[in-house]
C-alpha cells in the first residue's frame, strides 16, 4: 500500500516564489525558476559525510591551532607564528575590537561550526531525538557566514608574499593542518544538505518517544 504524499510546497528565500519541491536525485541541484537561487543541492550520504567530515575537522583543529603556521628569520632573529599570536599581537597593541573579530572569525566560529555539525549529524545518524537539535541547526546557519577560514588562508598568502622580499620564511606543520582544516570545512559546508537536515530534524521531533 502506498501512502499518498501530502501536498508539500516550499518558498524561495530570495524571491518568495511558491514552488513545488522537485524530487532530487543525489548530485542534483534545484534552482528557483523565478530568481535562479540555489534552493538545494542533494548530496550522496549527506548525514554520514557530514559526520565524518566534522570528526576530521575536529581532529585537524588541534594541530592547526597549536603548531606554528609560518616562521620568519630576519637578521639572526627568528619568530614563529601560531594562529593565536596574531590575535594576541592585536590585543597587545590595544586593538581589542579587531582582535576579537579576528579571534571569532578565524578560531571560535569555525570550531563552534564543527562542533554543531558533529552534534547534529551524530544525532541524525543514530536517529536519536534531542530537543536542542533545532536550536543547534539554527545557530549553525547563523554562524556559518562568520567563519572565515578561507579568507584567513588568503591573508596568510598575502602576508607571506609581502614578507618574502625582506626576510626568510619557512612554513610550519600547523600550516598544513590549517589548509587541511580549510578543505574539510569547505567540504563539510558542501555536504551538509540543509533541506534534508531540517526534514530529518522535524521527523525525529515527531517520532513518538
Amino acid at each position: 500500500m502506498r501512502a499518498r504524499p501530502k501536498l508539500q510546497l516550499e518558498a524561495c528565500p530570495e524571491c518568495d516564489a511558491l514552488l513545488r519541491p522537485a524530487a532530487l536525485v543525489d548530485g542534483d541541484k534545484a534552482h528557483c525558476p523565478r530568481c535562479g537561487f540555489l534552493l538545494q543541492r542533494a548530496q550522496k550520504n549527506s548525514i554520514e559525510r557530514s559526520l565524518a567530515l566534522s570528526v576530521a575537522g575536529l581532529l585537524l583543529f588541534v594541530p592547526a591551532n597549536c603548531l606554528p603556521l609560518v616562521g620568519i628569520k630576519f637578521l639572526g632573529n627568528a619568530k614563529d607564528g601560531i594562529l593565536l599570536s596574531g590575535v594576541a599581537a592585536l590585543y597587545g597593541e590595544g586593538m581589542w575590537a579587531v582582535a576579537t573579530l579576528v579571534f571569532l572569525s578565524s578560531m571560535l566560529f569555525p570550531l563552534v561550526n564543527i562542533l554543531l555539525s558533529l552534534a547534529i549529524s551524530l544525532h541524525l545518524y543514530l536517529n536519536r531525538p534531542n530537543r536542542y537539535l533545532r536550536h543547534w541547526m539554527r545557530w549553525l546557519q547563523h554562524l556559518d557566514e562568520w567563519a572565515m577560514l578561507e579568507v584567513y588562508t588568503l591573508g596568510i598568502i598575502v602576508a607571506c608574499v609581502k614578507l618574502s622580499s625582506m626576510a626568510d620564511l619557512h612554513f610550519g606543520l600547523g600550516l598544513y593542518a590549517f589548509v587541511g582544516l580549510l578543505l574539510v570545512t569547505v567540504a563539510l559546508a558542501a555536504s551538509l544538505d540543509r533541506t534534508l537536515f531540517w526534514q530529518r530534524i522535524d521527523a525525529l521531533r515527531r517520532k513518538p518517544a
Binding site: L9, E10, A11, P13, E14, C15, D16, A17, L18, L19, P33, R34, C35, G36, F37, V70, I72, F74, L75, N77, K79, G81, S85, G86, V87, A89, L90, E93, M95, A97, V98, A99, L101, V102, S106, R134, H135, M137, R138, Q141, E145, M148, V151, Y152, L154, G155, I156, V158, A159, K162, L163, S165, M166, A167, R194, T195, W198, I201, D202, R205
Partner: protein
C-alpha cells in the same frame, strides 16, 4: 504557462531559519518546526539597511585616510594607508597581489556600499526593474563581502611575525579598527536587506521573465 505566485500573496509565510511554510494566521506564534519567530519579511528591513549603510559610508572615510599599519625598519617608522600599502606592493613588483588587495580592500567595500544603496533605492522608490538581475546583484554583494576581511587578517599575521624590536616592527594603525568596522557593518547591511522586497513591488514580474527567458518557466 504556470504562474509563480509569491508565498505571502497566498497567505503563507516562509520561516527564515528552516524554510517551513506556515499560514499567516499563525504569526504571533513561533515556527512549529524550528521555533524561530515567524516573519513574512525581515522586520524594518529598509530602515535597518540604511542605518548600516550610513555608518558604513561614515567609517569608510577614516578607514582610507588614516594609516592602517606602520612599518618600522631600523627605527624609522613609515605609516601606510590602505592605498599606500597597495602602492608599496606595486613598487615591490608584486602586481598580482597588489590587484588582489586593491579588489578586496578598496573596490569590494565601496561597490558593496554603492550596490546596497542602489538596491535600497530600488525598493524604496518601487522601481520597475529586471528583478532577477537585481536579485543576482544582491547575491553577489552578499557573497563577496567576507573577502574584505583579507586586509585585517593579513595585518594580524604581519604584526605578530614582524616584531623584532628596533630592527623591524609592524604596528597596526587606527584605520584598522575603522576598516574592520566597515566590513562588519556592510555584512550586517547585506544581511538585513530582504531581496524579496524587490519582487514585492514588481507589477509585471512574470510577464517580464517570460519575455526574456521563455524556457525558464515553461513546465
Amino acid at each position: 504557462m504556470k504562474r509563480l505566485p509569491g508565498a505571502l500573496r497566498q497567505g503563507l509565510i516562509r520561516c527564515h531559519d528552516c524554510g517551513a511554510l506556515a499560514k499567516q494566521e499563525t504569526v504571533p506564534h513561533p515556527c512549529p518546526v524550528c521555533g524561530s519567530p515567524l516573519q513574512a519579511r525581515i522586520p524594518d528591513s529598509l530602515t535597518r539597511t540604511m542605518a548600516f549603510l550610513l555608518s558604513g559610508y561614515a567609517l569608510y572615510v577614516p578607514a582610507n585616510l588614516f594609516p592602517i599599519m606602520t612599518v618600522t625598519r631600523f627605527g624609522v617608522g613609515e605609516p601606510h594607508t590602505i592605498l599606500g600599502g597597495i602602492l608599496a606592493l606595486i613598487d615591490g613588483e608584486m602586481l598580482p597581489i597588489a590587484i588582489l588587495v586593491f579588489i578586496a580592500s578598496i573596490l569590494v567595500p565601496l561597490l558593496k556600499l554603492l550596490g546596497l544603496t542602489l538596491l535600497w533605492l530600488c525598493v524604496f522608490y518601487r522601481w520597475q526593474v529586471n528583478a532577477r538581475r537585481w536579485t543576482l546583484m544582491y547575491r553577489m554583494i552578499a557573497f563577496v563581502g567576507r573577502w574584505s576581511m583579507l586586509d585585517i587578517f593579513m595585518i594580524s599575521i604581519l604584526i605578530s611575525l614582524v616584531d623584532l624590536g628596533g630592527v623591524a616592527q609592524v604596528l597596526a594603525g587606527p584605520a584598522a579598527t575603522a576598516f574592520a568596522a566597515v566590513v562588519v557593518i556592510t555584512l550586517f547591511a547585506a544581511k538585513s536587506f530582504d531581496p524579496r522586497l524587490i519582487w514585492d513591488h514588481q507589477t509585471h514580474d512574470e510577464r517580464r521573465i517570460r519575455l526574456r527567458n521563455p524556457r525558464r518557466l515553461a513546465e
